[in-house]
Symmetry: C2
């Protein structure tokens, strides 16, 4: 019975998409194998990433390390024989962190109780936050789980520090779904809290793994609402604060000295291998060169940048002369403005260029599983035909989905996009924190991502989309 | 053209196996979702693994920690309400490590050259090795890449330390294939070297990641060939030694005090949830409780053991009363004898029991990708029909393949077997070394493995094979 039904379904589904292994193009298959062999026997992505992480760990836009990273990646491309290596200037915001401290202090009524001593909280300013007064803010804390709960505080929010404490949903298999379900607290918490008269916000770090390391990230203000300081608190700190509140009222003393300085000049870094038949048709492969000023931005997104350079490098090393130009782009300022991503499509350099596709790796340098495709049905169909080549690379999960923040403005002009899809379970253990260091990156996992991206670039270059 | 060919192929392939998503059984689907929710919201595998790693890190057969691990896991099962919790006694070998030291010492002709100072090598005795004389062995070193090269040494091997230095093949996508391609040096190197008169062997550690940590593992002797001492050398040590040899002759002074003591009593640890309809039909899910006396045996194979306990625990917690009995087994002595695996099928306790399947997790507590199936074509076909449930768990790569060392003797009696298949890139970074500690385990990856195993057990319990 099932078999009969299956037969009809199978026949029908065939009309929509292939449901069986197709005959491989021998050339394409040999390229997949060559990329694998070259990448795994003489990988360069991890060595480059180590160099970036050690020499320019705090690559937040406008920081010295960001400028150092621009020069370093330009040199990496030049040293590897890329052509058209150049900087594309953009202006970037410059927010600097400064000092950050928080303590749980008992409410006056509880000061005599021994159990309510002053306790330090591990916090860090959220990116873009204003400072507290120099002497800090000392205020009662009120805990909420959602923006709606914060709104519902009404006048009870006045003068308080609103503490957003909604955890990642652990049942989300994809860690990005858990992040997506929690990040509104960080991105919009300060706006909503200010609307009910709060004086600051503390936000539970955007991670599912309990430790005492706070995770920073971008937060937003709007012109119509008073700006209040915002900091992330570690998971252990959040649990401690929540337990203190459960035992009675608790105050927090929060001091932040972060500030926003005038915009400064920075750049996207570009280099490529020129197409042999259609040099003006460009395939962009990129990541973002900036990162938060915590850890070393190893996974986010040094990994994606070094993979982009390695894509062009691998293609050169195995002797492919691609039909179309394959271009590595280090986008600047993804974390707090996306000026690089927005500037790229409208740069003077774009004259006469036609972009046929853009790839991004910004989900960490973990084992690649496949990629998400942002494009119309004809693009989706075309890419699915390539699945067998990605079976060879053990990364053939191909699904419609997001490309990435950096390439989003380019995709908005109608260019198809690709986001490298990786094993996601570890990403938010490290993301935007002191945990995001080179020792958390496995060299093979990183290189395999570059190999998968190189194969996508090669196929697009040869066959178009 | 391709479409027409595809149509025929598709139609034919349909007769062999389903090539499309089938209708899900609503109950089975809901169980998959419940296991996911229970496991990810209230995971116990990582907490249990931490307890095991901290309290009984060096669980080599016959060591005190192994006995402690037996009692600890018995208690874990009892505390969680398992039934028929008991120990099944076996005798195990008792090899103990002792002191291990090696130095590169310059050959007499080079002693005056400053570049050839005495240099320490990071080594560890291979499991089962005999000791060197108390004063150590001081001998010239000859480097080979293969057993054949060692054989070809002939009389040039006499009195030498043979240094097996063949690296993992980095082009193998599956790390187990790289291991399989190199491990003959460790397992049989001492036999082959002794046949050409060598006095000891040094073996490049079985890992692809360069660091200074040696990786131990089992080695073999045969009665007809003289026993000589055998040690693993770290990758950095191997590179150093090879470079020293390239600059001229080099000697190594090796001291090992390991020894084999008389067999002692130990046990497999067993506990279960009884089947409601066919209690005498058993599904075994296991791992091996012993590990090498390096690190904490976190991935190898504390992970597999704790996952096995968590399987039964999850099934109990979501309120399933399975038709068949699901039994967790902690096998003792996989690493150097497999007495537990061999003892299990022939134990007195097996009277009246019928085993319908056996599962093992012994590839590390990494992200599960699916499982390998050891069974005839009807078993393979049946299991493939369950693929949609494993799609829900993002672990639906189902392939014919190996079950595991512990369950192999049971499988030899005709029982179908399953080996949890995981992302393998990191495993040999840690395997059999001081690197294999609890901090290398990601709690979600570990728990997901237990969830996948629980789903297999549930389906077998309900539907048989």
């Amino acid at each position: 019975m099932l078999k009969t039904a299956g037969c009809v379904l199978c026949f029908l589904s065939f009309l929509l998409e292939p449901c069986f292994a197709q005959t491989l193009n021998a050339t394409h298959e040999s390229i997949a194998r060559k990329l694998l062999e070259q990448g795994l026997t003489q990988p360069e992505s991890y060595t480059m990433l180590s160099e970036l992480c050690v020499n320019a760990p705090h690559r937040l836009s406008g920081y010295e390390d960001a400028q150092r990273a621009v020069q370093l990646t330009k040199k990496m491309m030049t040293d590897r024989g890329f052509v058209n290596v150049h900087l594309e200037k953009i202006m970037v915001p410059r927010w600097v962190r400064g000092k950050e401290e928080a303590y749980i202090v008992p409410a006056p009524s509880l000061k005599q109780k021994q159990s309510m001593r002053v306790q330090k909280l591990s916090v860090c300013a959220l990116g873009g936050s204003i400072a507290t007064p120099e002497s800090g803010i000392d205020a009662e804390v009120v805990e909420v789980k959602t923006l709606d709960e914060a709104r519902a505080l009404g006048s009870r929010g006045k003068g308080k520090i609103v503490f957003f404490n909604r955890a990642f949903d652990p049942t989300k298999l994809n860690a990005f779904a858990a992040y997506g379900g929690a990040v509104d607290q960080r991105s919009r918490g300060a706006i909503v809290a200010a609307q009910v008269g709060a004086v600051a916000v503390l936000v539970r770090s955007m991670t599912g793994r309990p430790d005492d390391v706070p995770h920073t990230g971008a937060m937003n203000y709007v012109d119509t609402v008073k700006k209040i300081p915002a900091a992330a608190v570690s998971i252990e700190g959040a649990e401690l604060l929540s337990a203190s509140l459960a035992r009675g009222q608790a105050r927090v003393r929060l001091t932040l000295t972060c500030k926003t300085l005038p915009d400064v000049e920075s750049a996207n870094v570009v280099g490529e291998i020129a197409g042999s038949e259609k040099p003006n048709e460009i395939i962009v492969v990129g990541g973002h060169l900036d990162c938060w000023d915590k850890g070393q931005g190893a996974h986010d997104d040094g990994a994606g940048c070094m993979q982009a350079i390695e894509v062009v490098n691998l293609i050169k090393k195995i002797g492919i002369r691609p039909k179309r130009t394959i271009r590595a782009v280090m986008f600047m300022n993804e974390e707090n403005g996306n000026r690089g991503g927005r500037g790229y499509p409208v740069a003077a350099e774009r004259k006469g260029e036609k972009h046929v596709a853009a790839l991004e790796s910004d989900r960490g340098g973990f084992t690649p599983r496949g990629f998400t495709v942002a494009g119309d049905s004809s693009v989706q169909k075309k890419v699915l035909e390539w699945k067998p080549y990605f079976d060879l690379l053990d990364a053939s999960r191909i699904e419609p989905g997001y490309g990435g923040v950096d390439i989003a403005p380019l995709l908005d002009t109608g260019v198809p996009g690709f986001g490298l899809y990786v094993d996601s379970h570890r990403y938010f253990d490290y993301h935007h924190s002191d945990n995001d260091t080179i020792d958390k990156v496995n060299p093979r996992e990183l290189e395999l991502g570059a190999i998968v991206e190189a194969m996508i670039c090669y196929l697009i270059s040869e066959e178009g989309l």
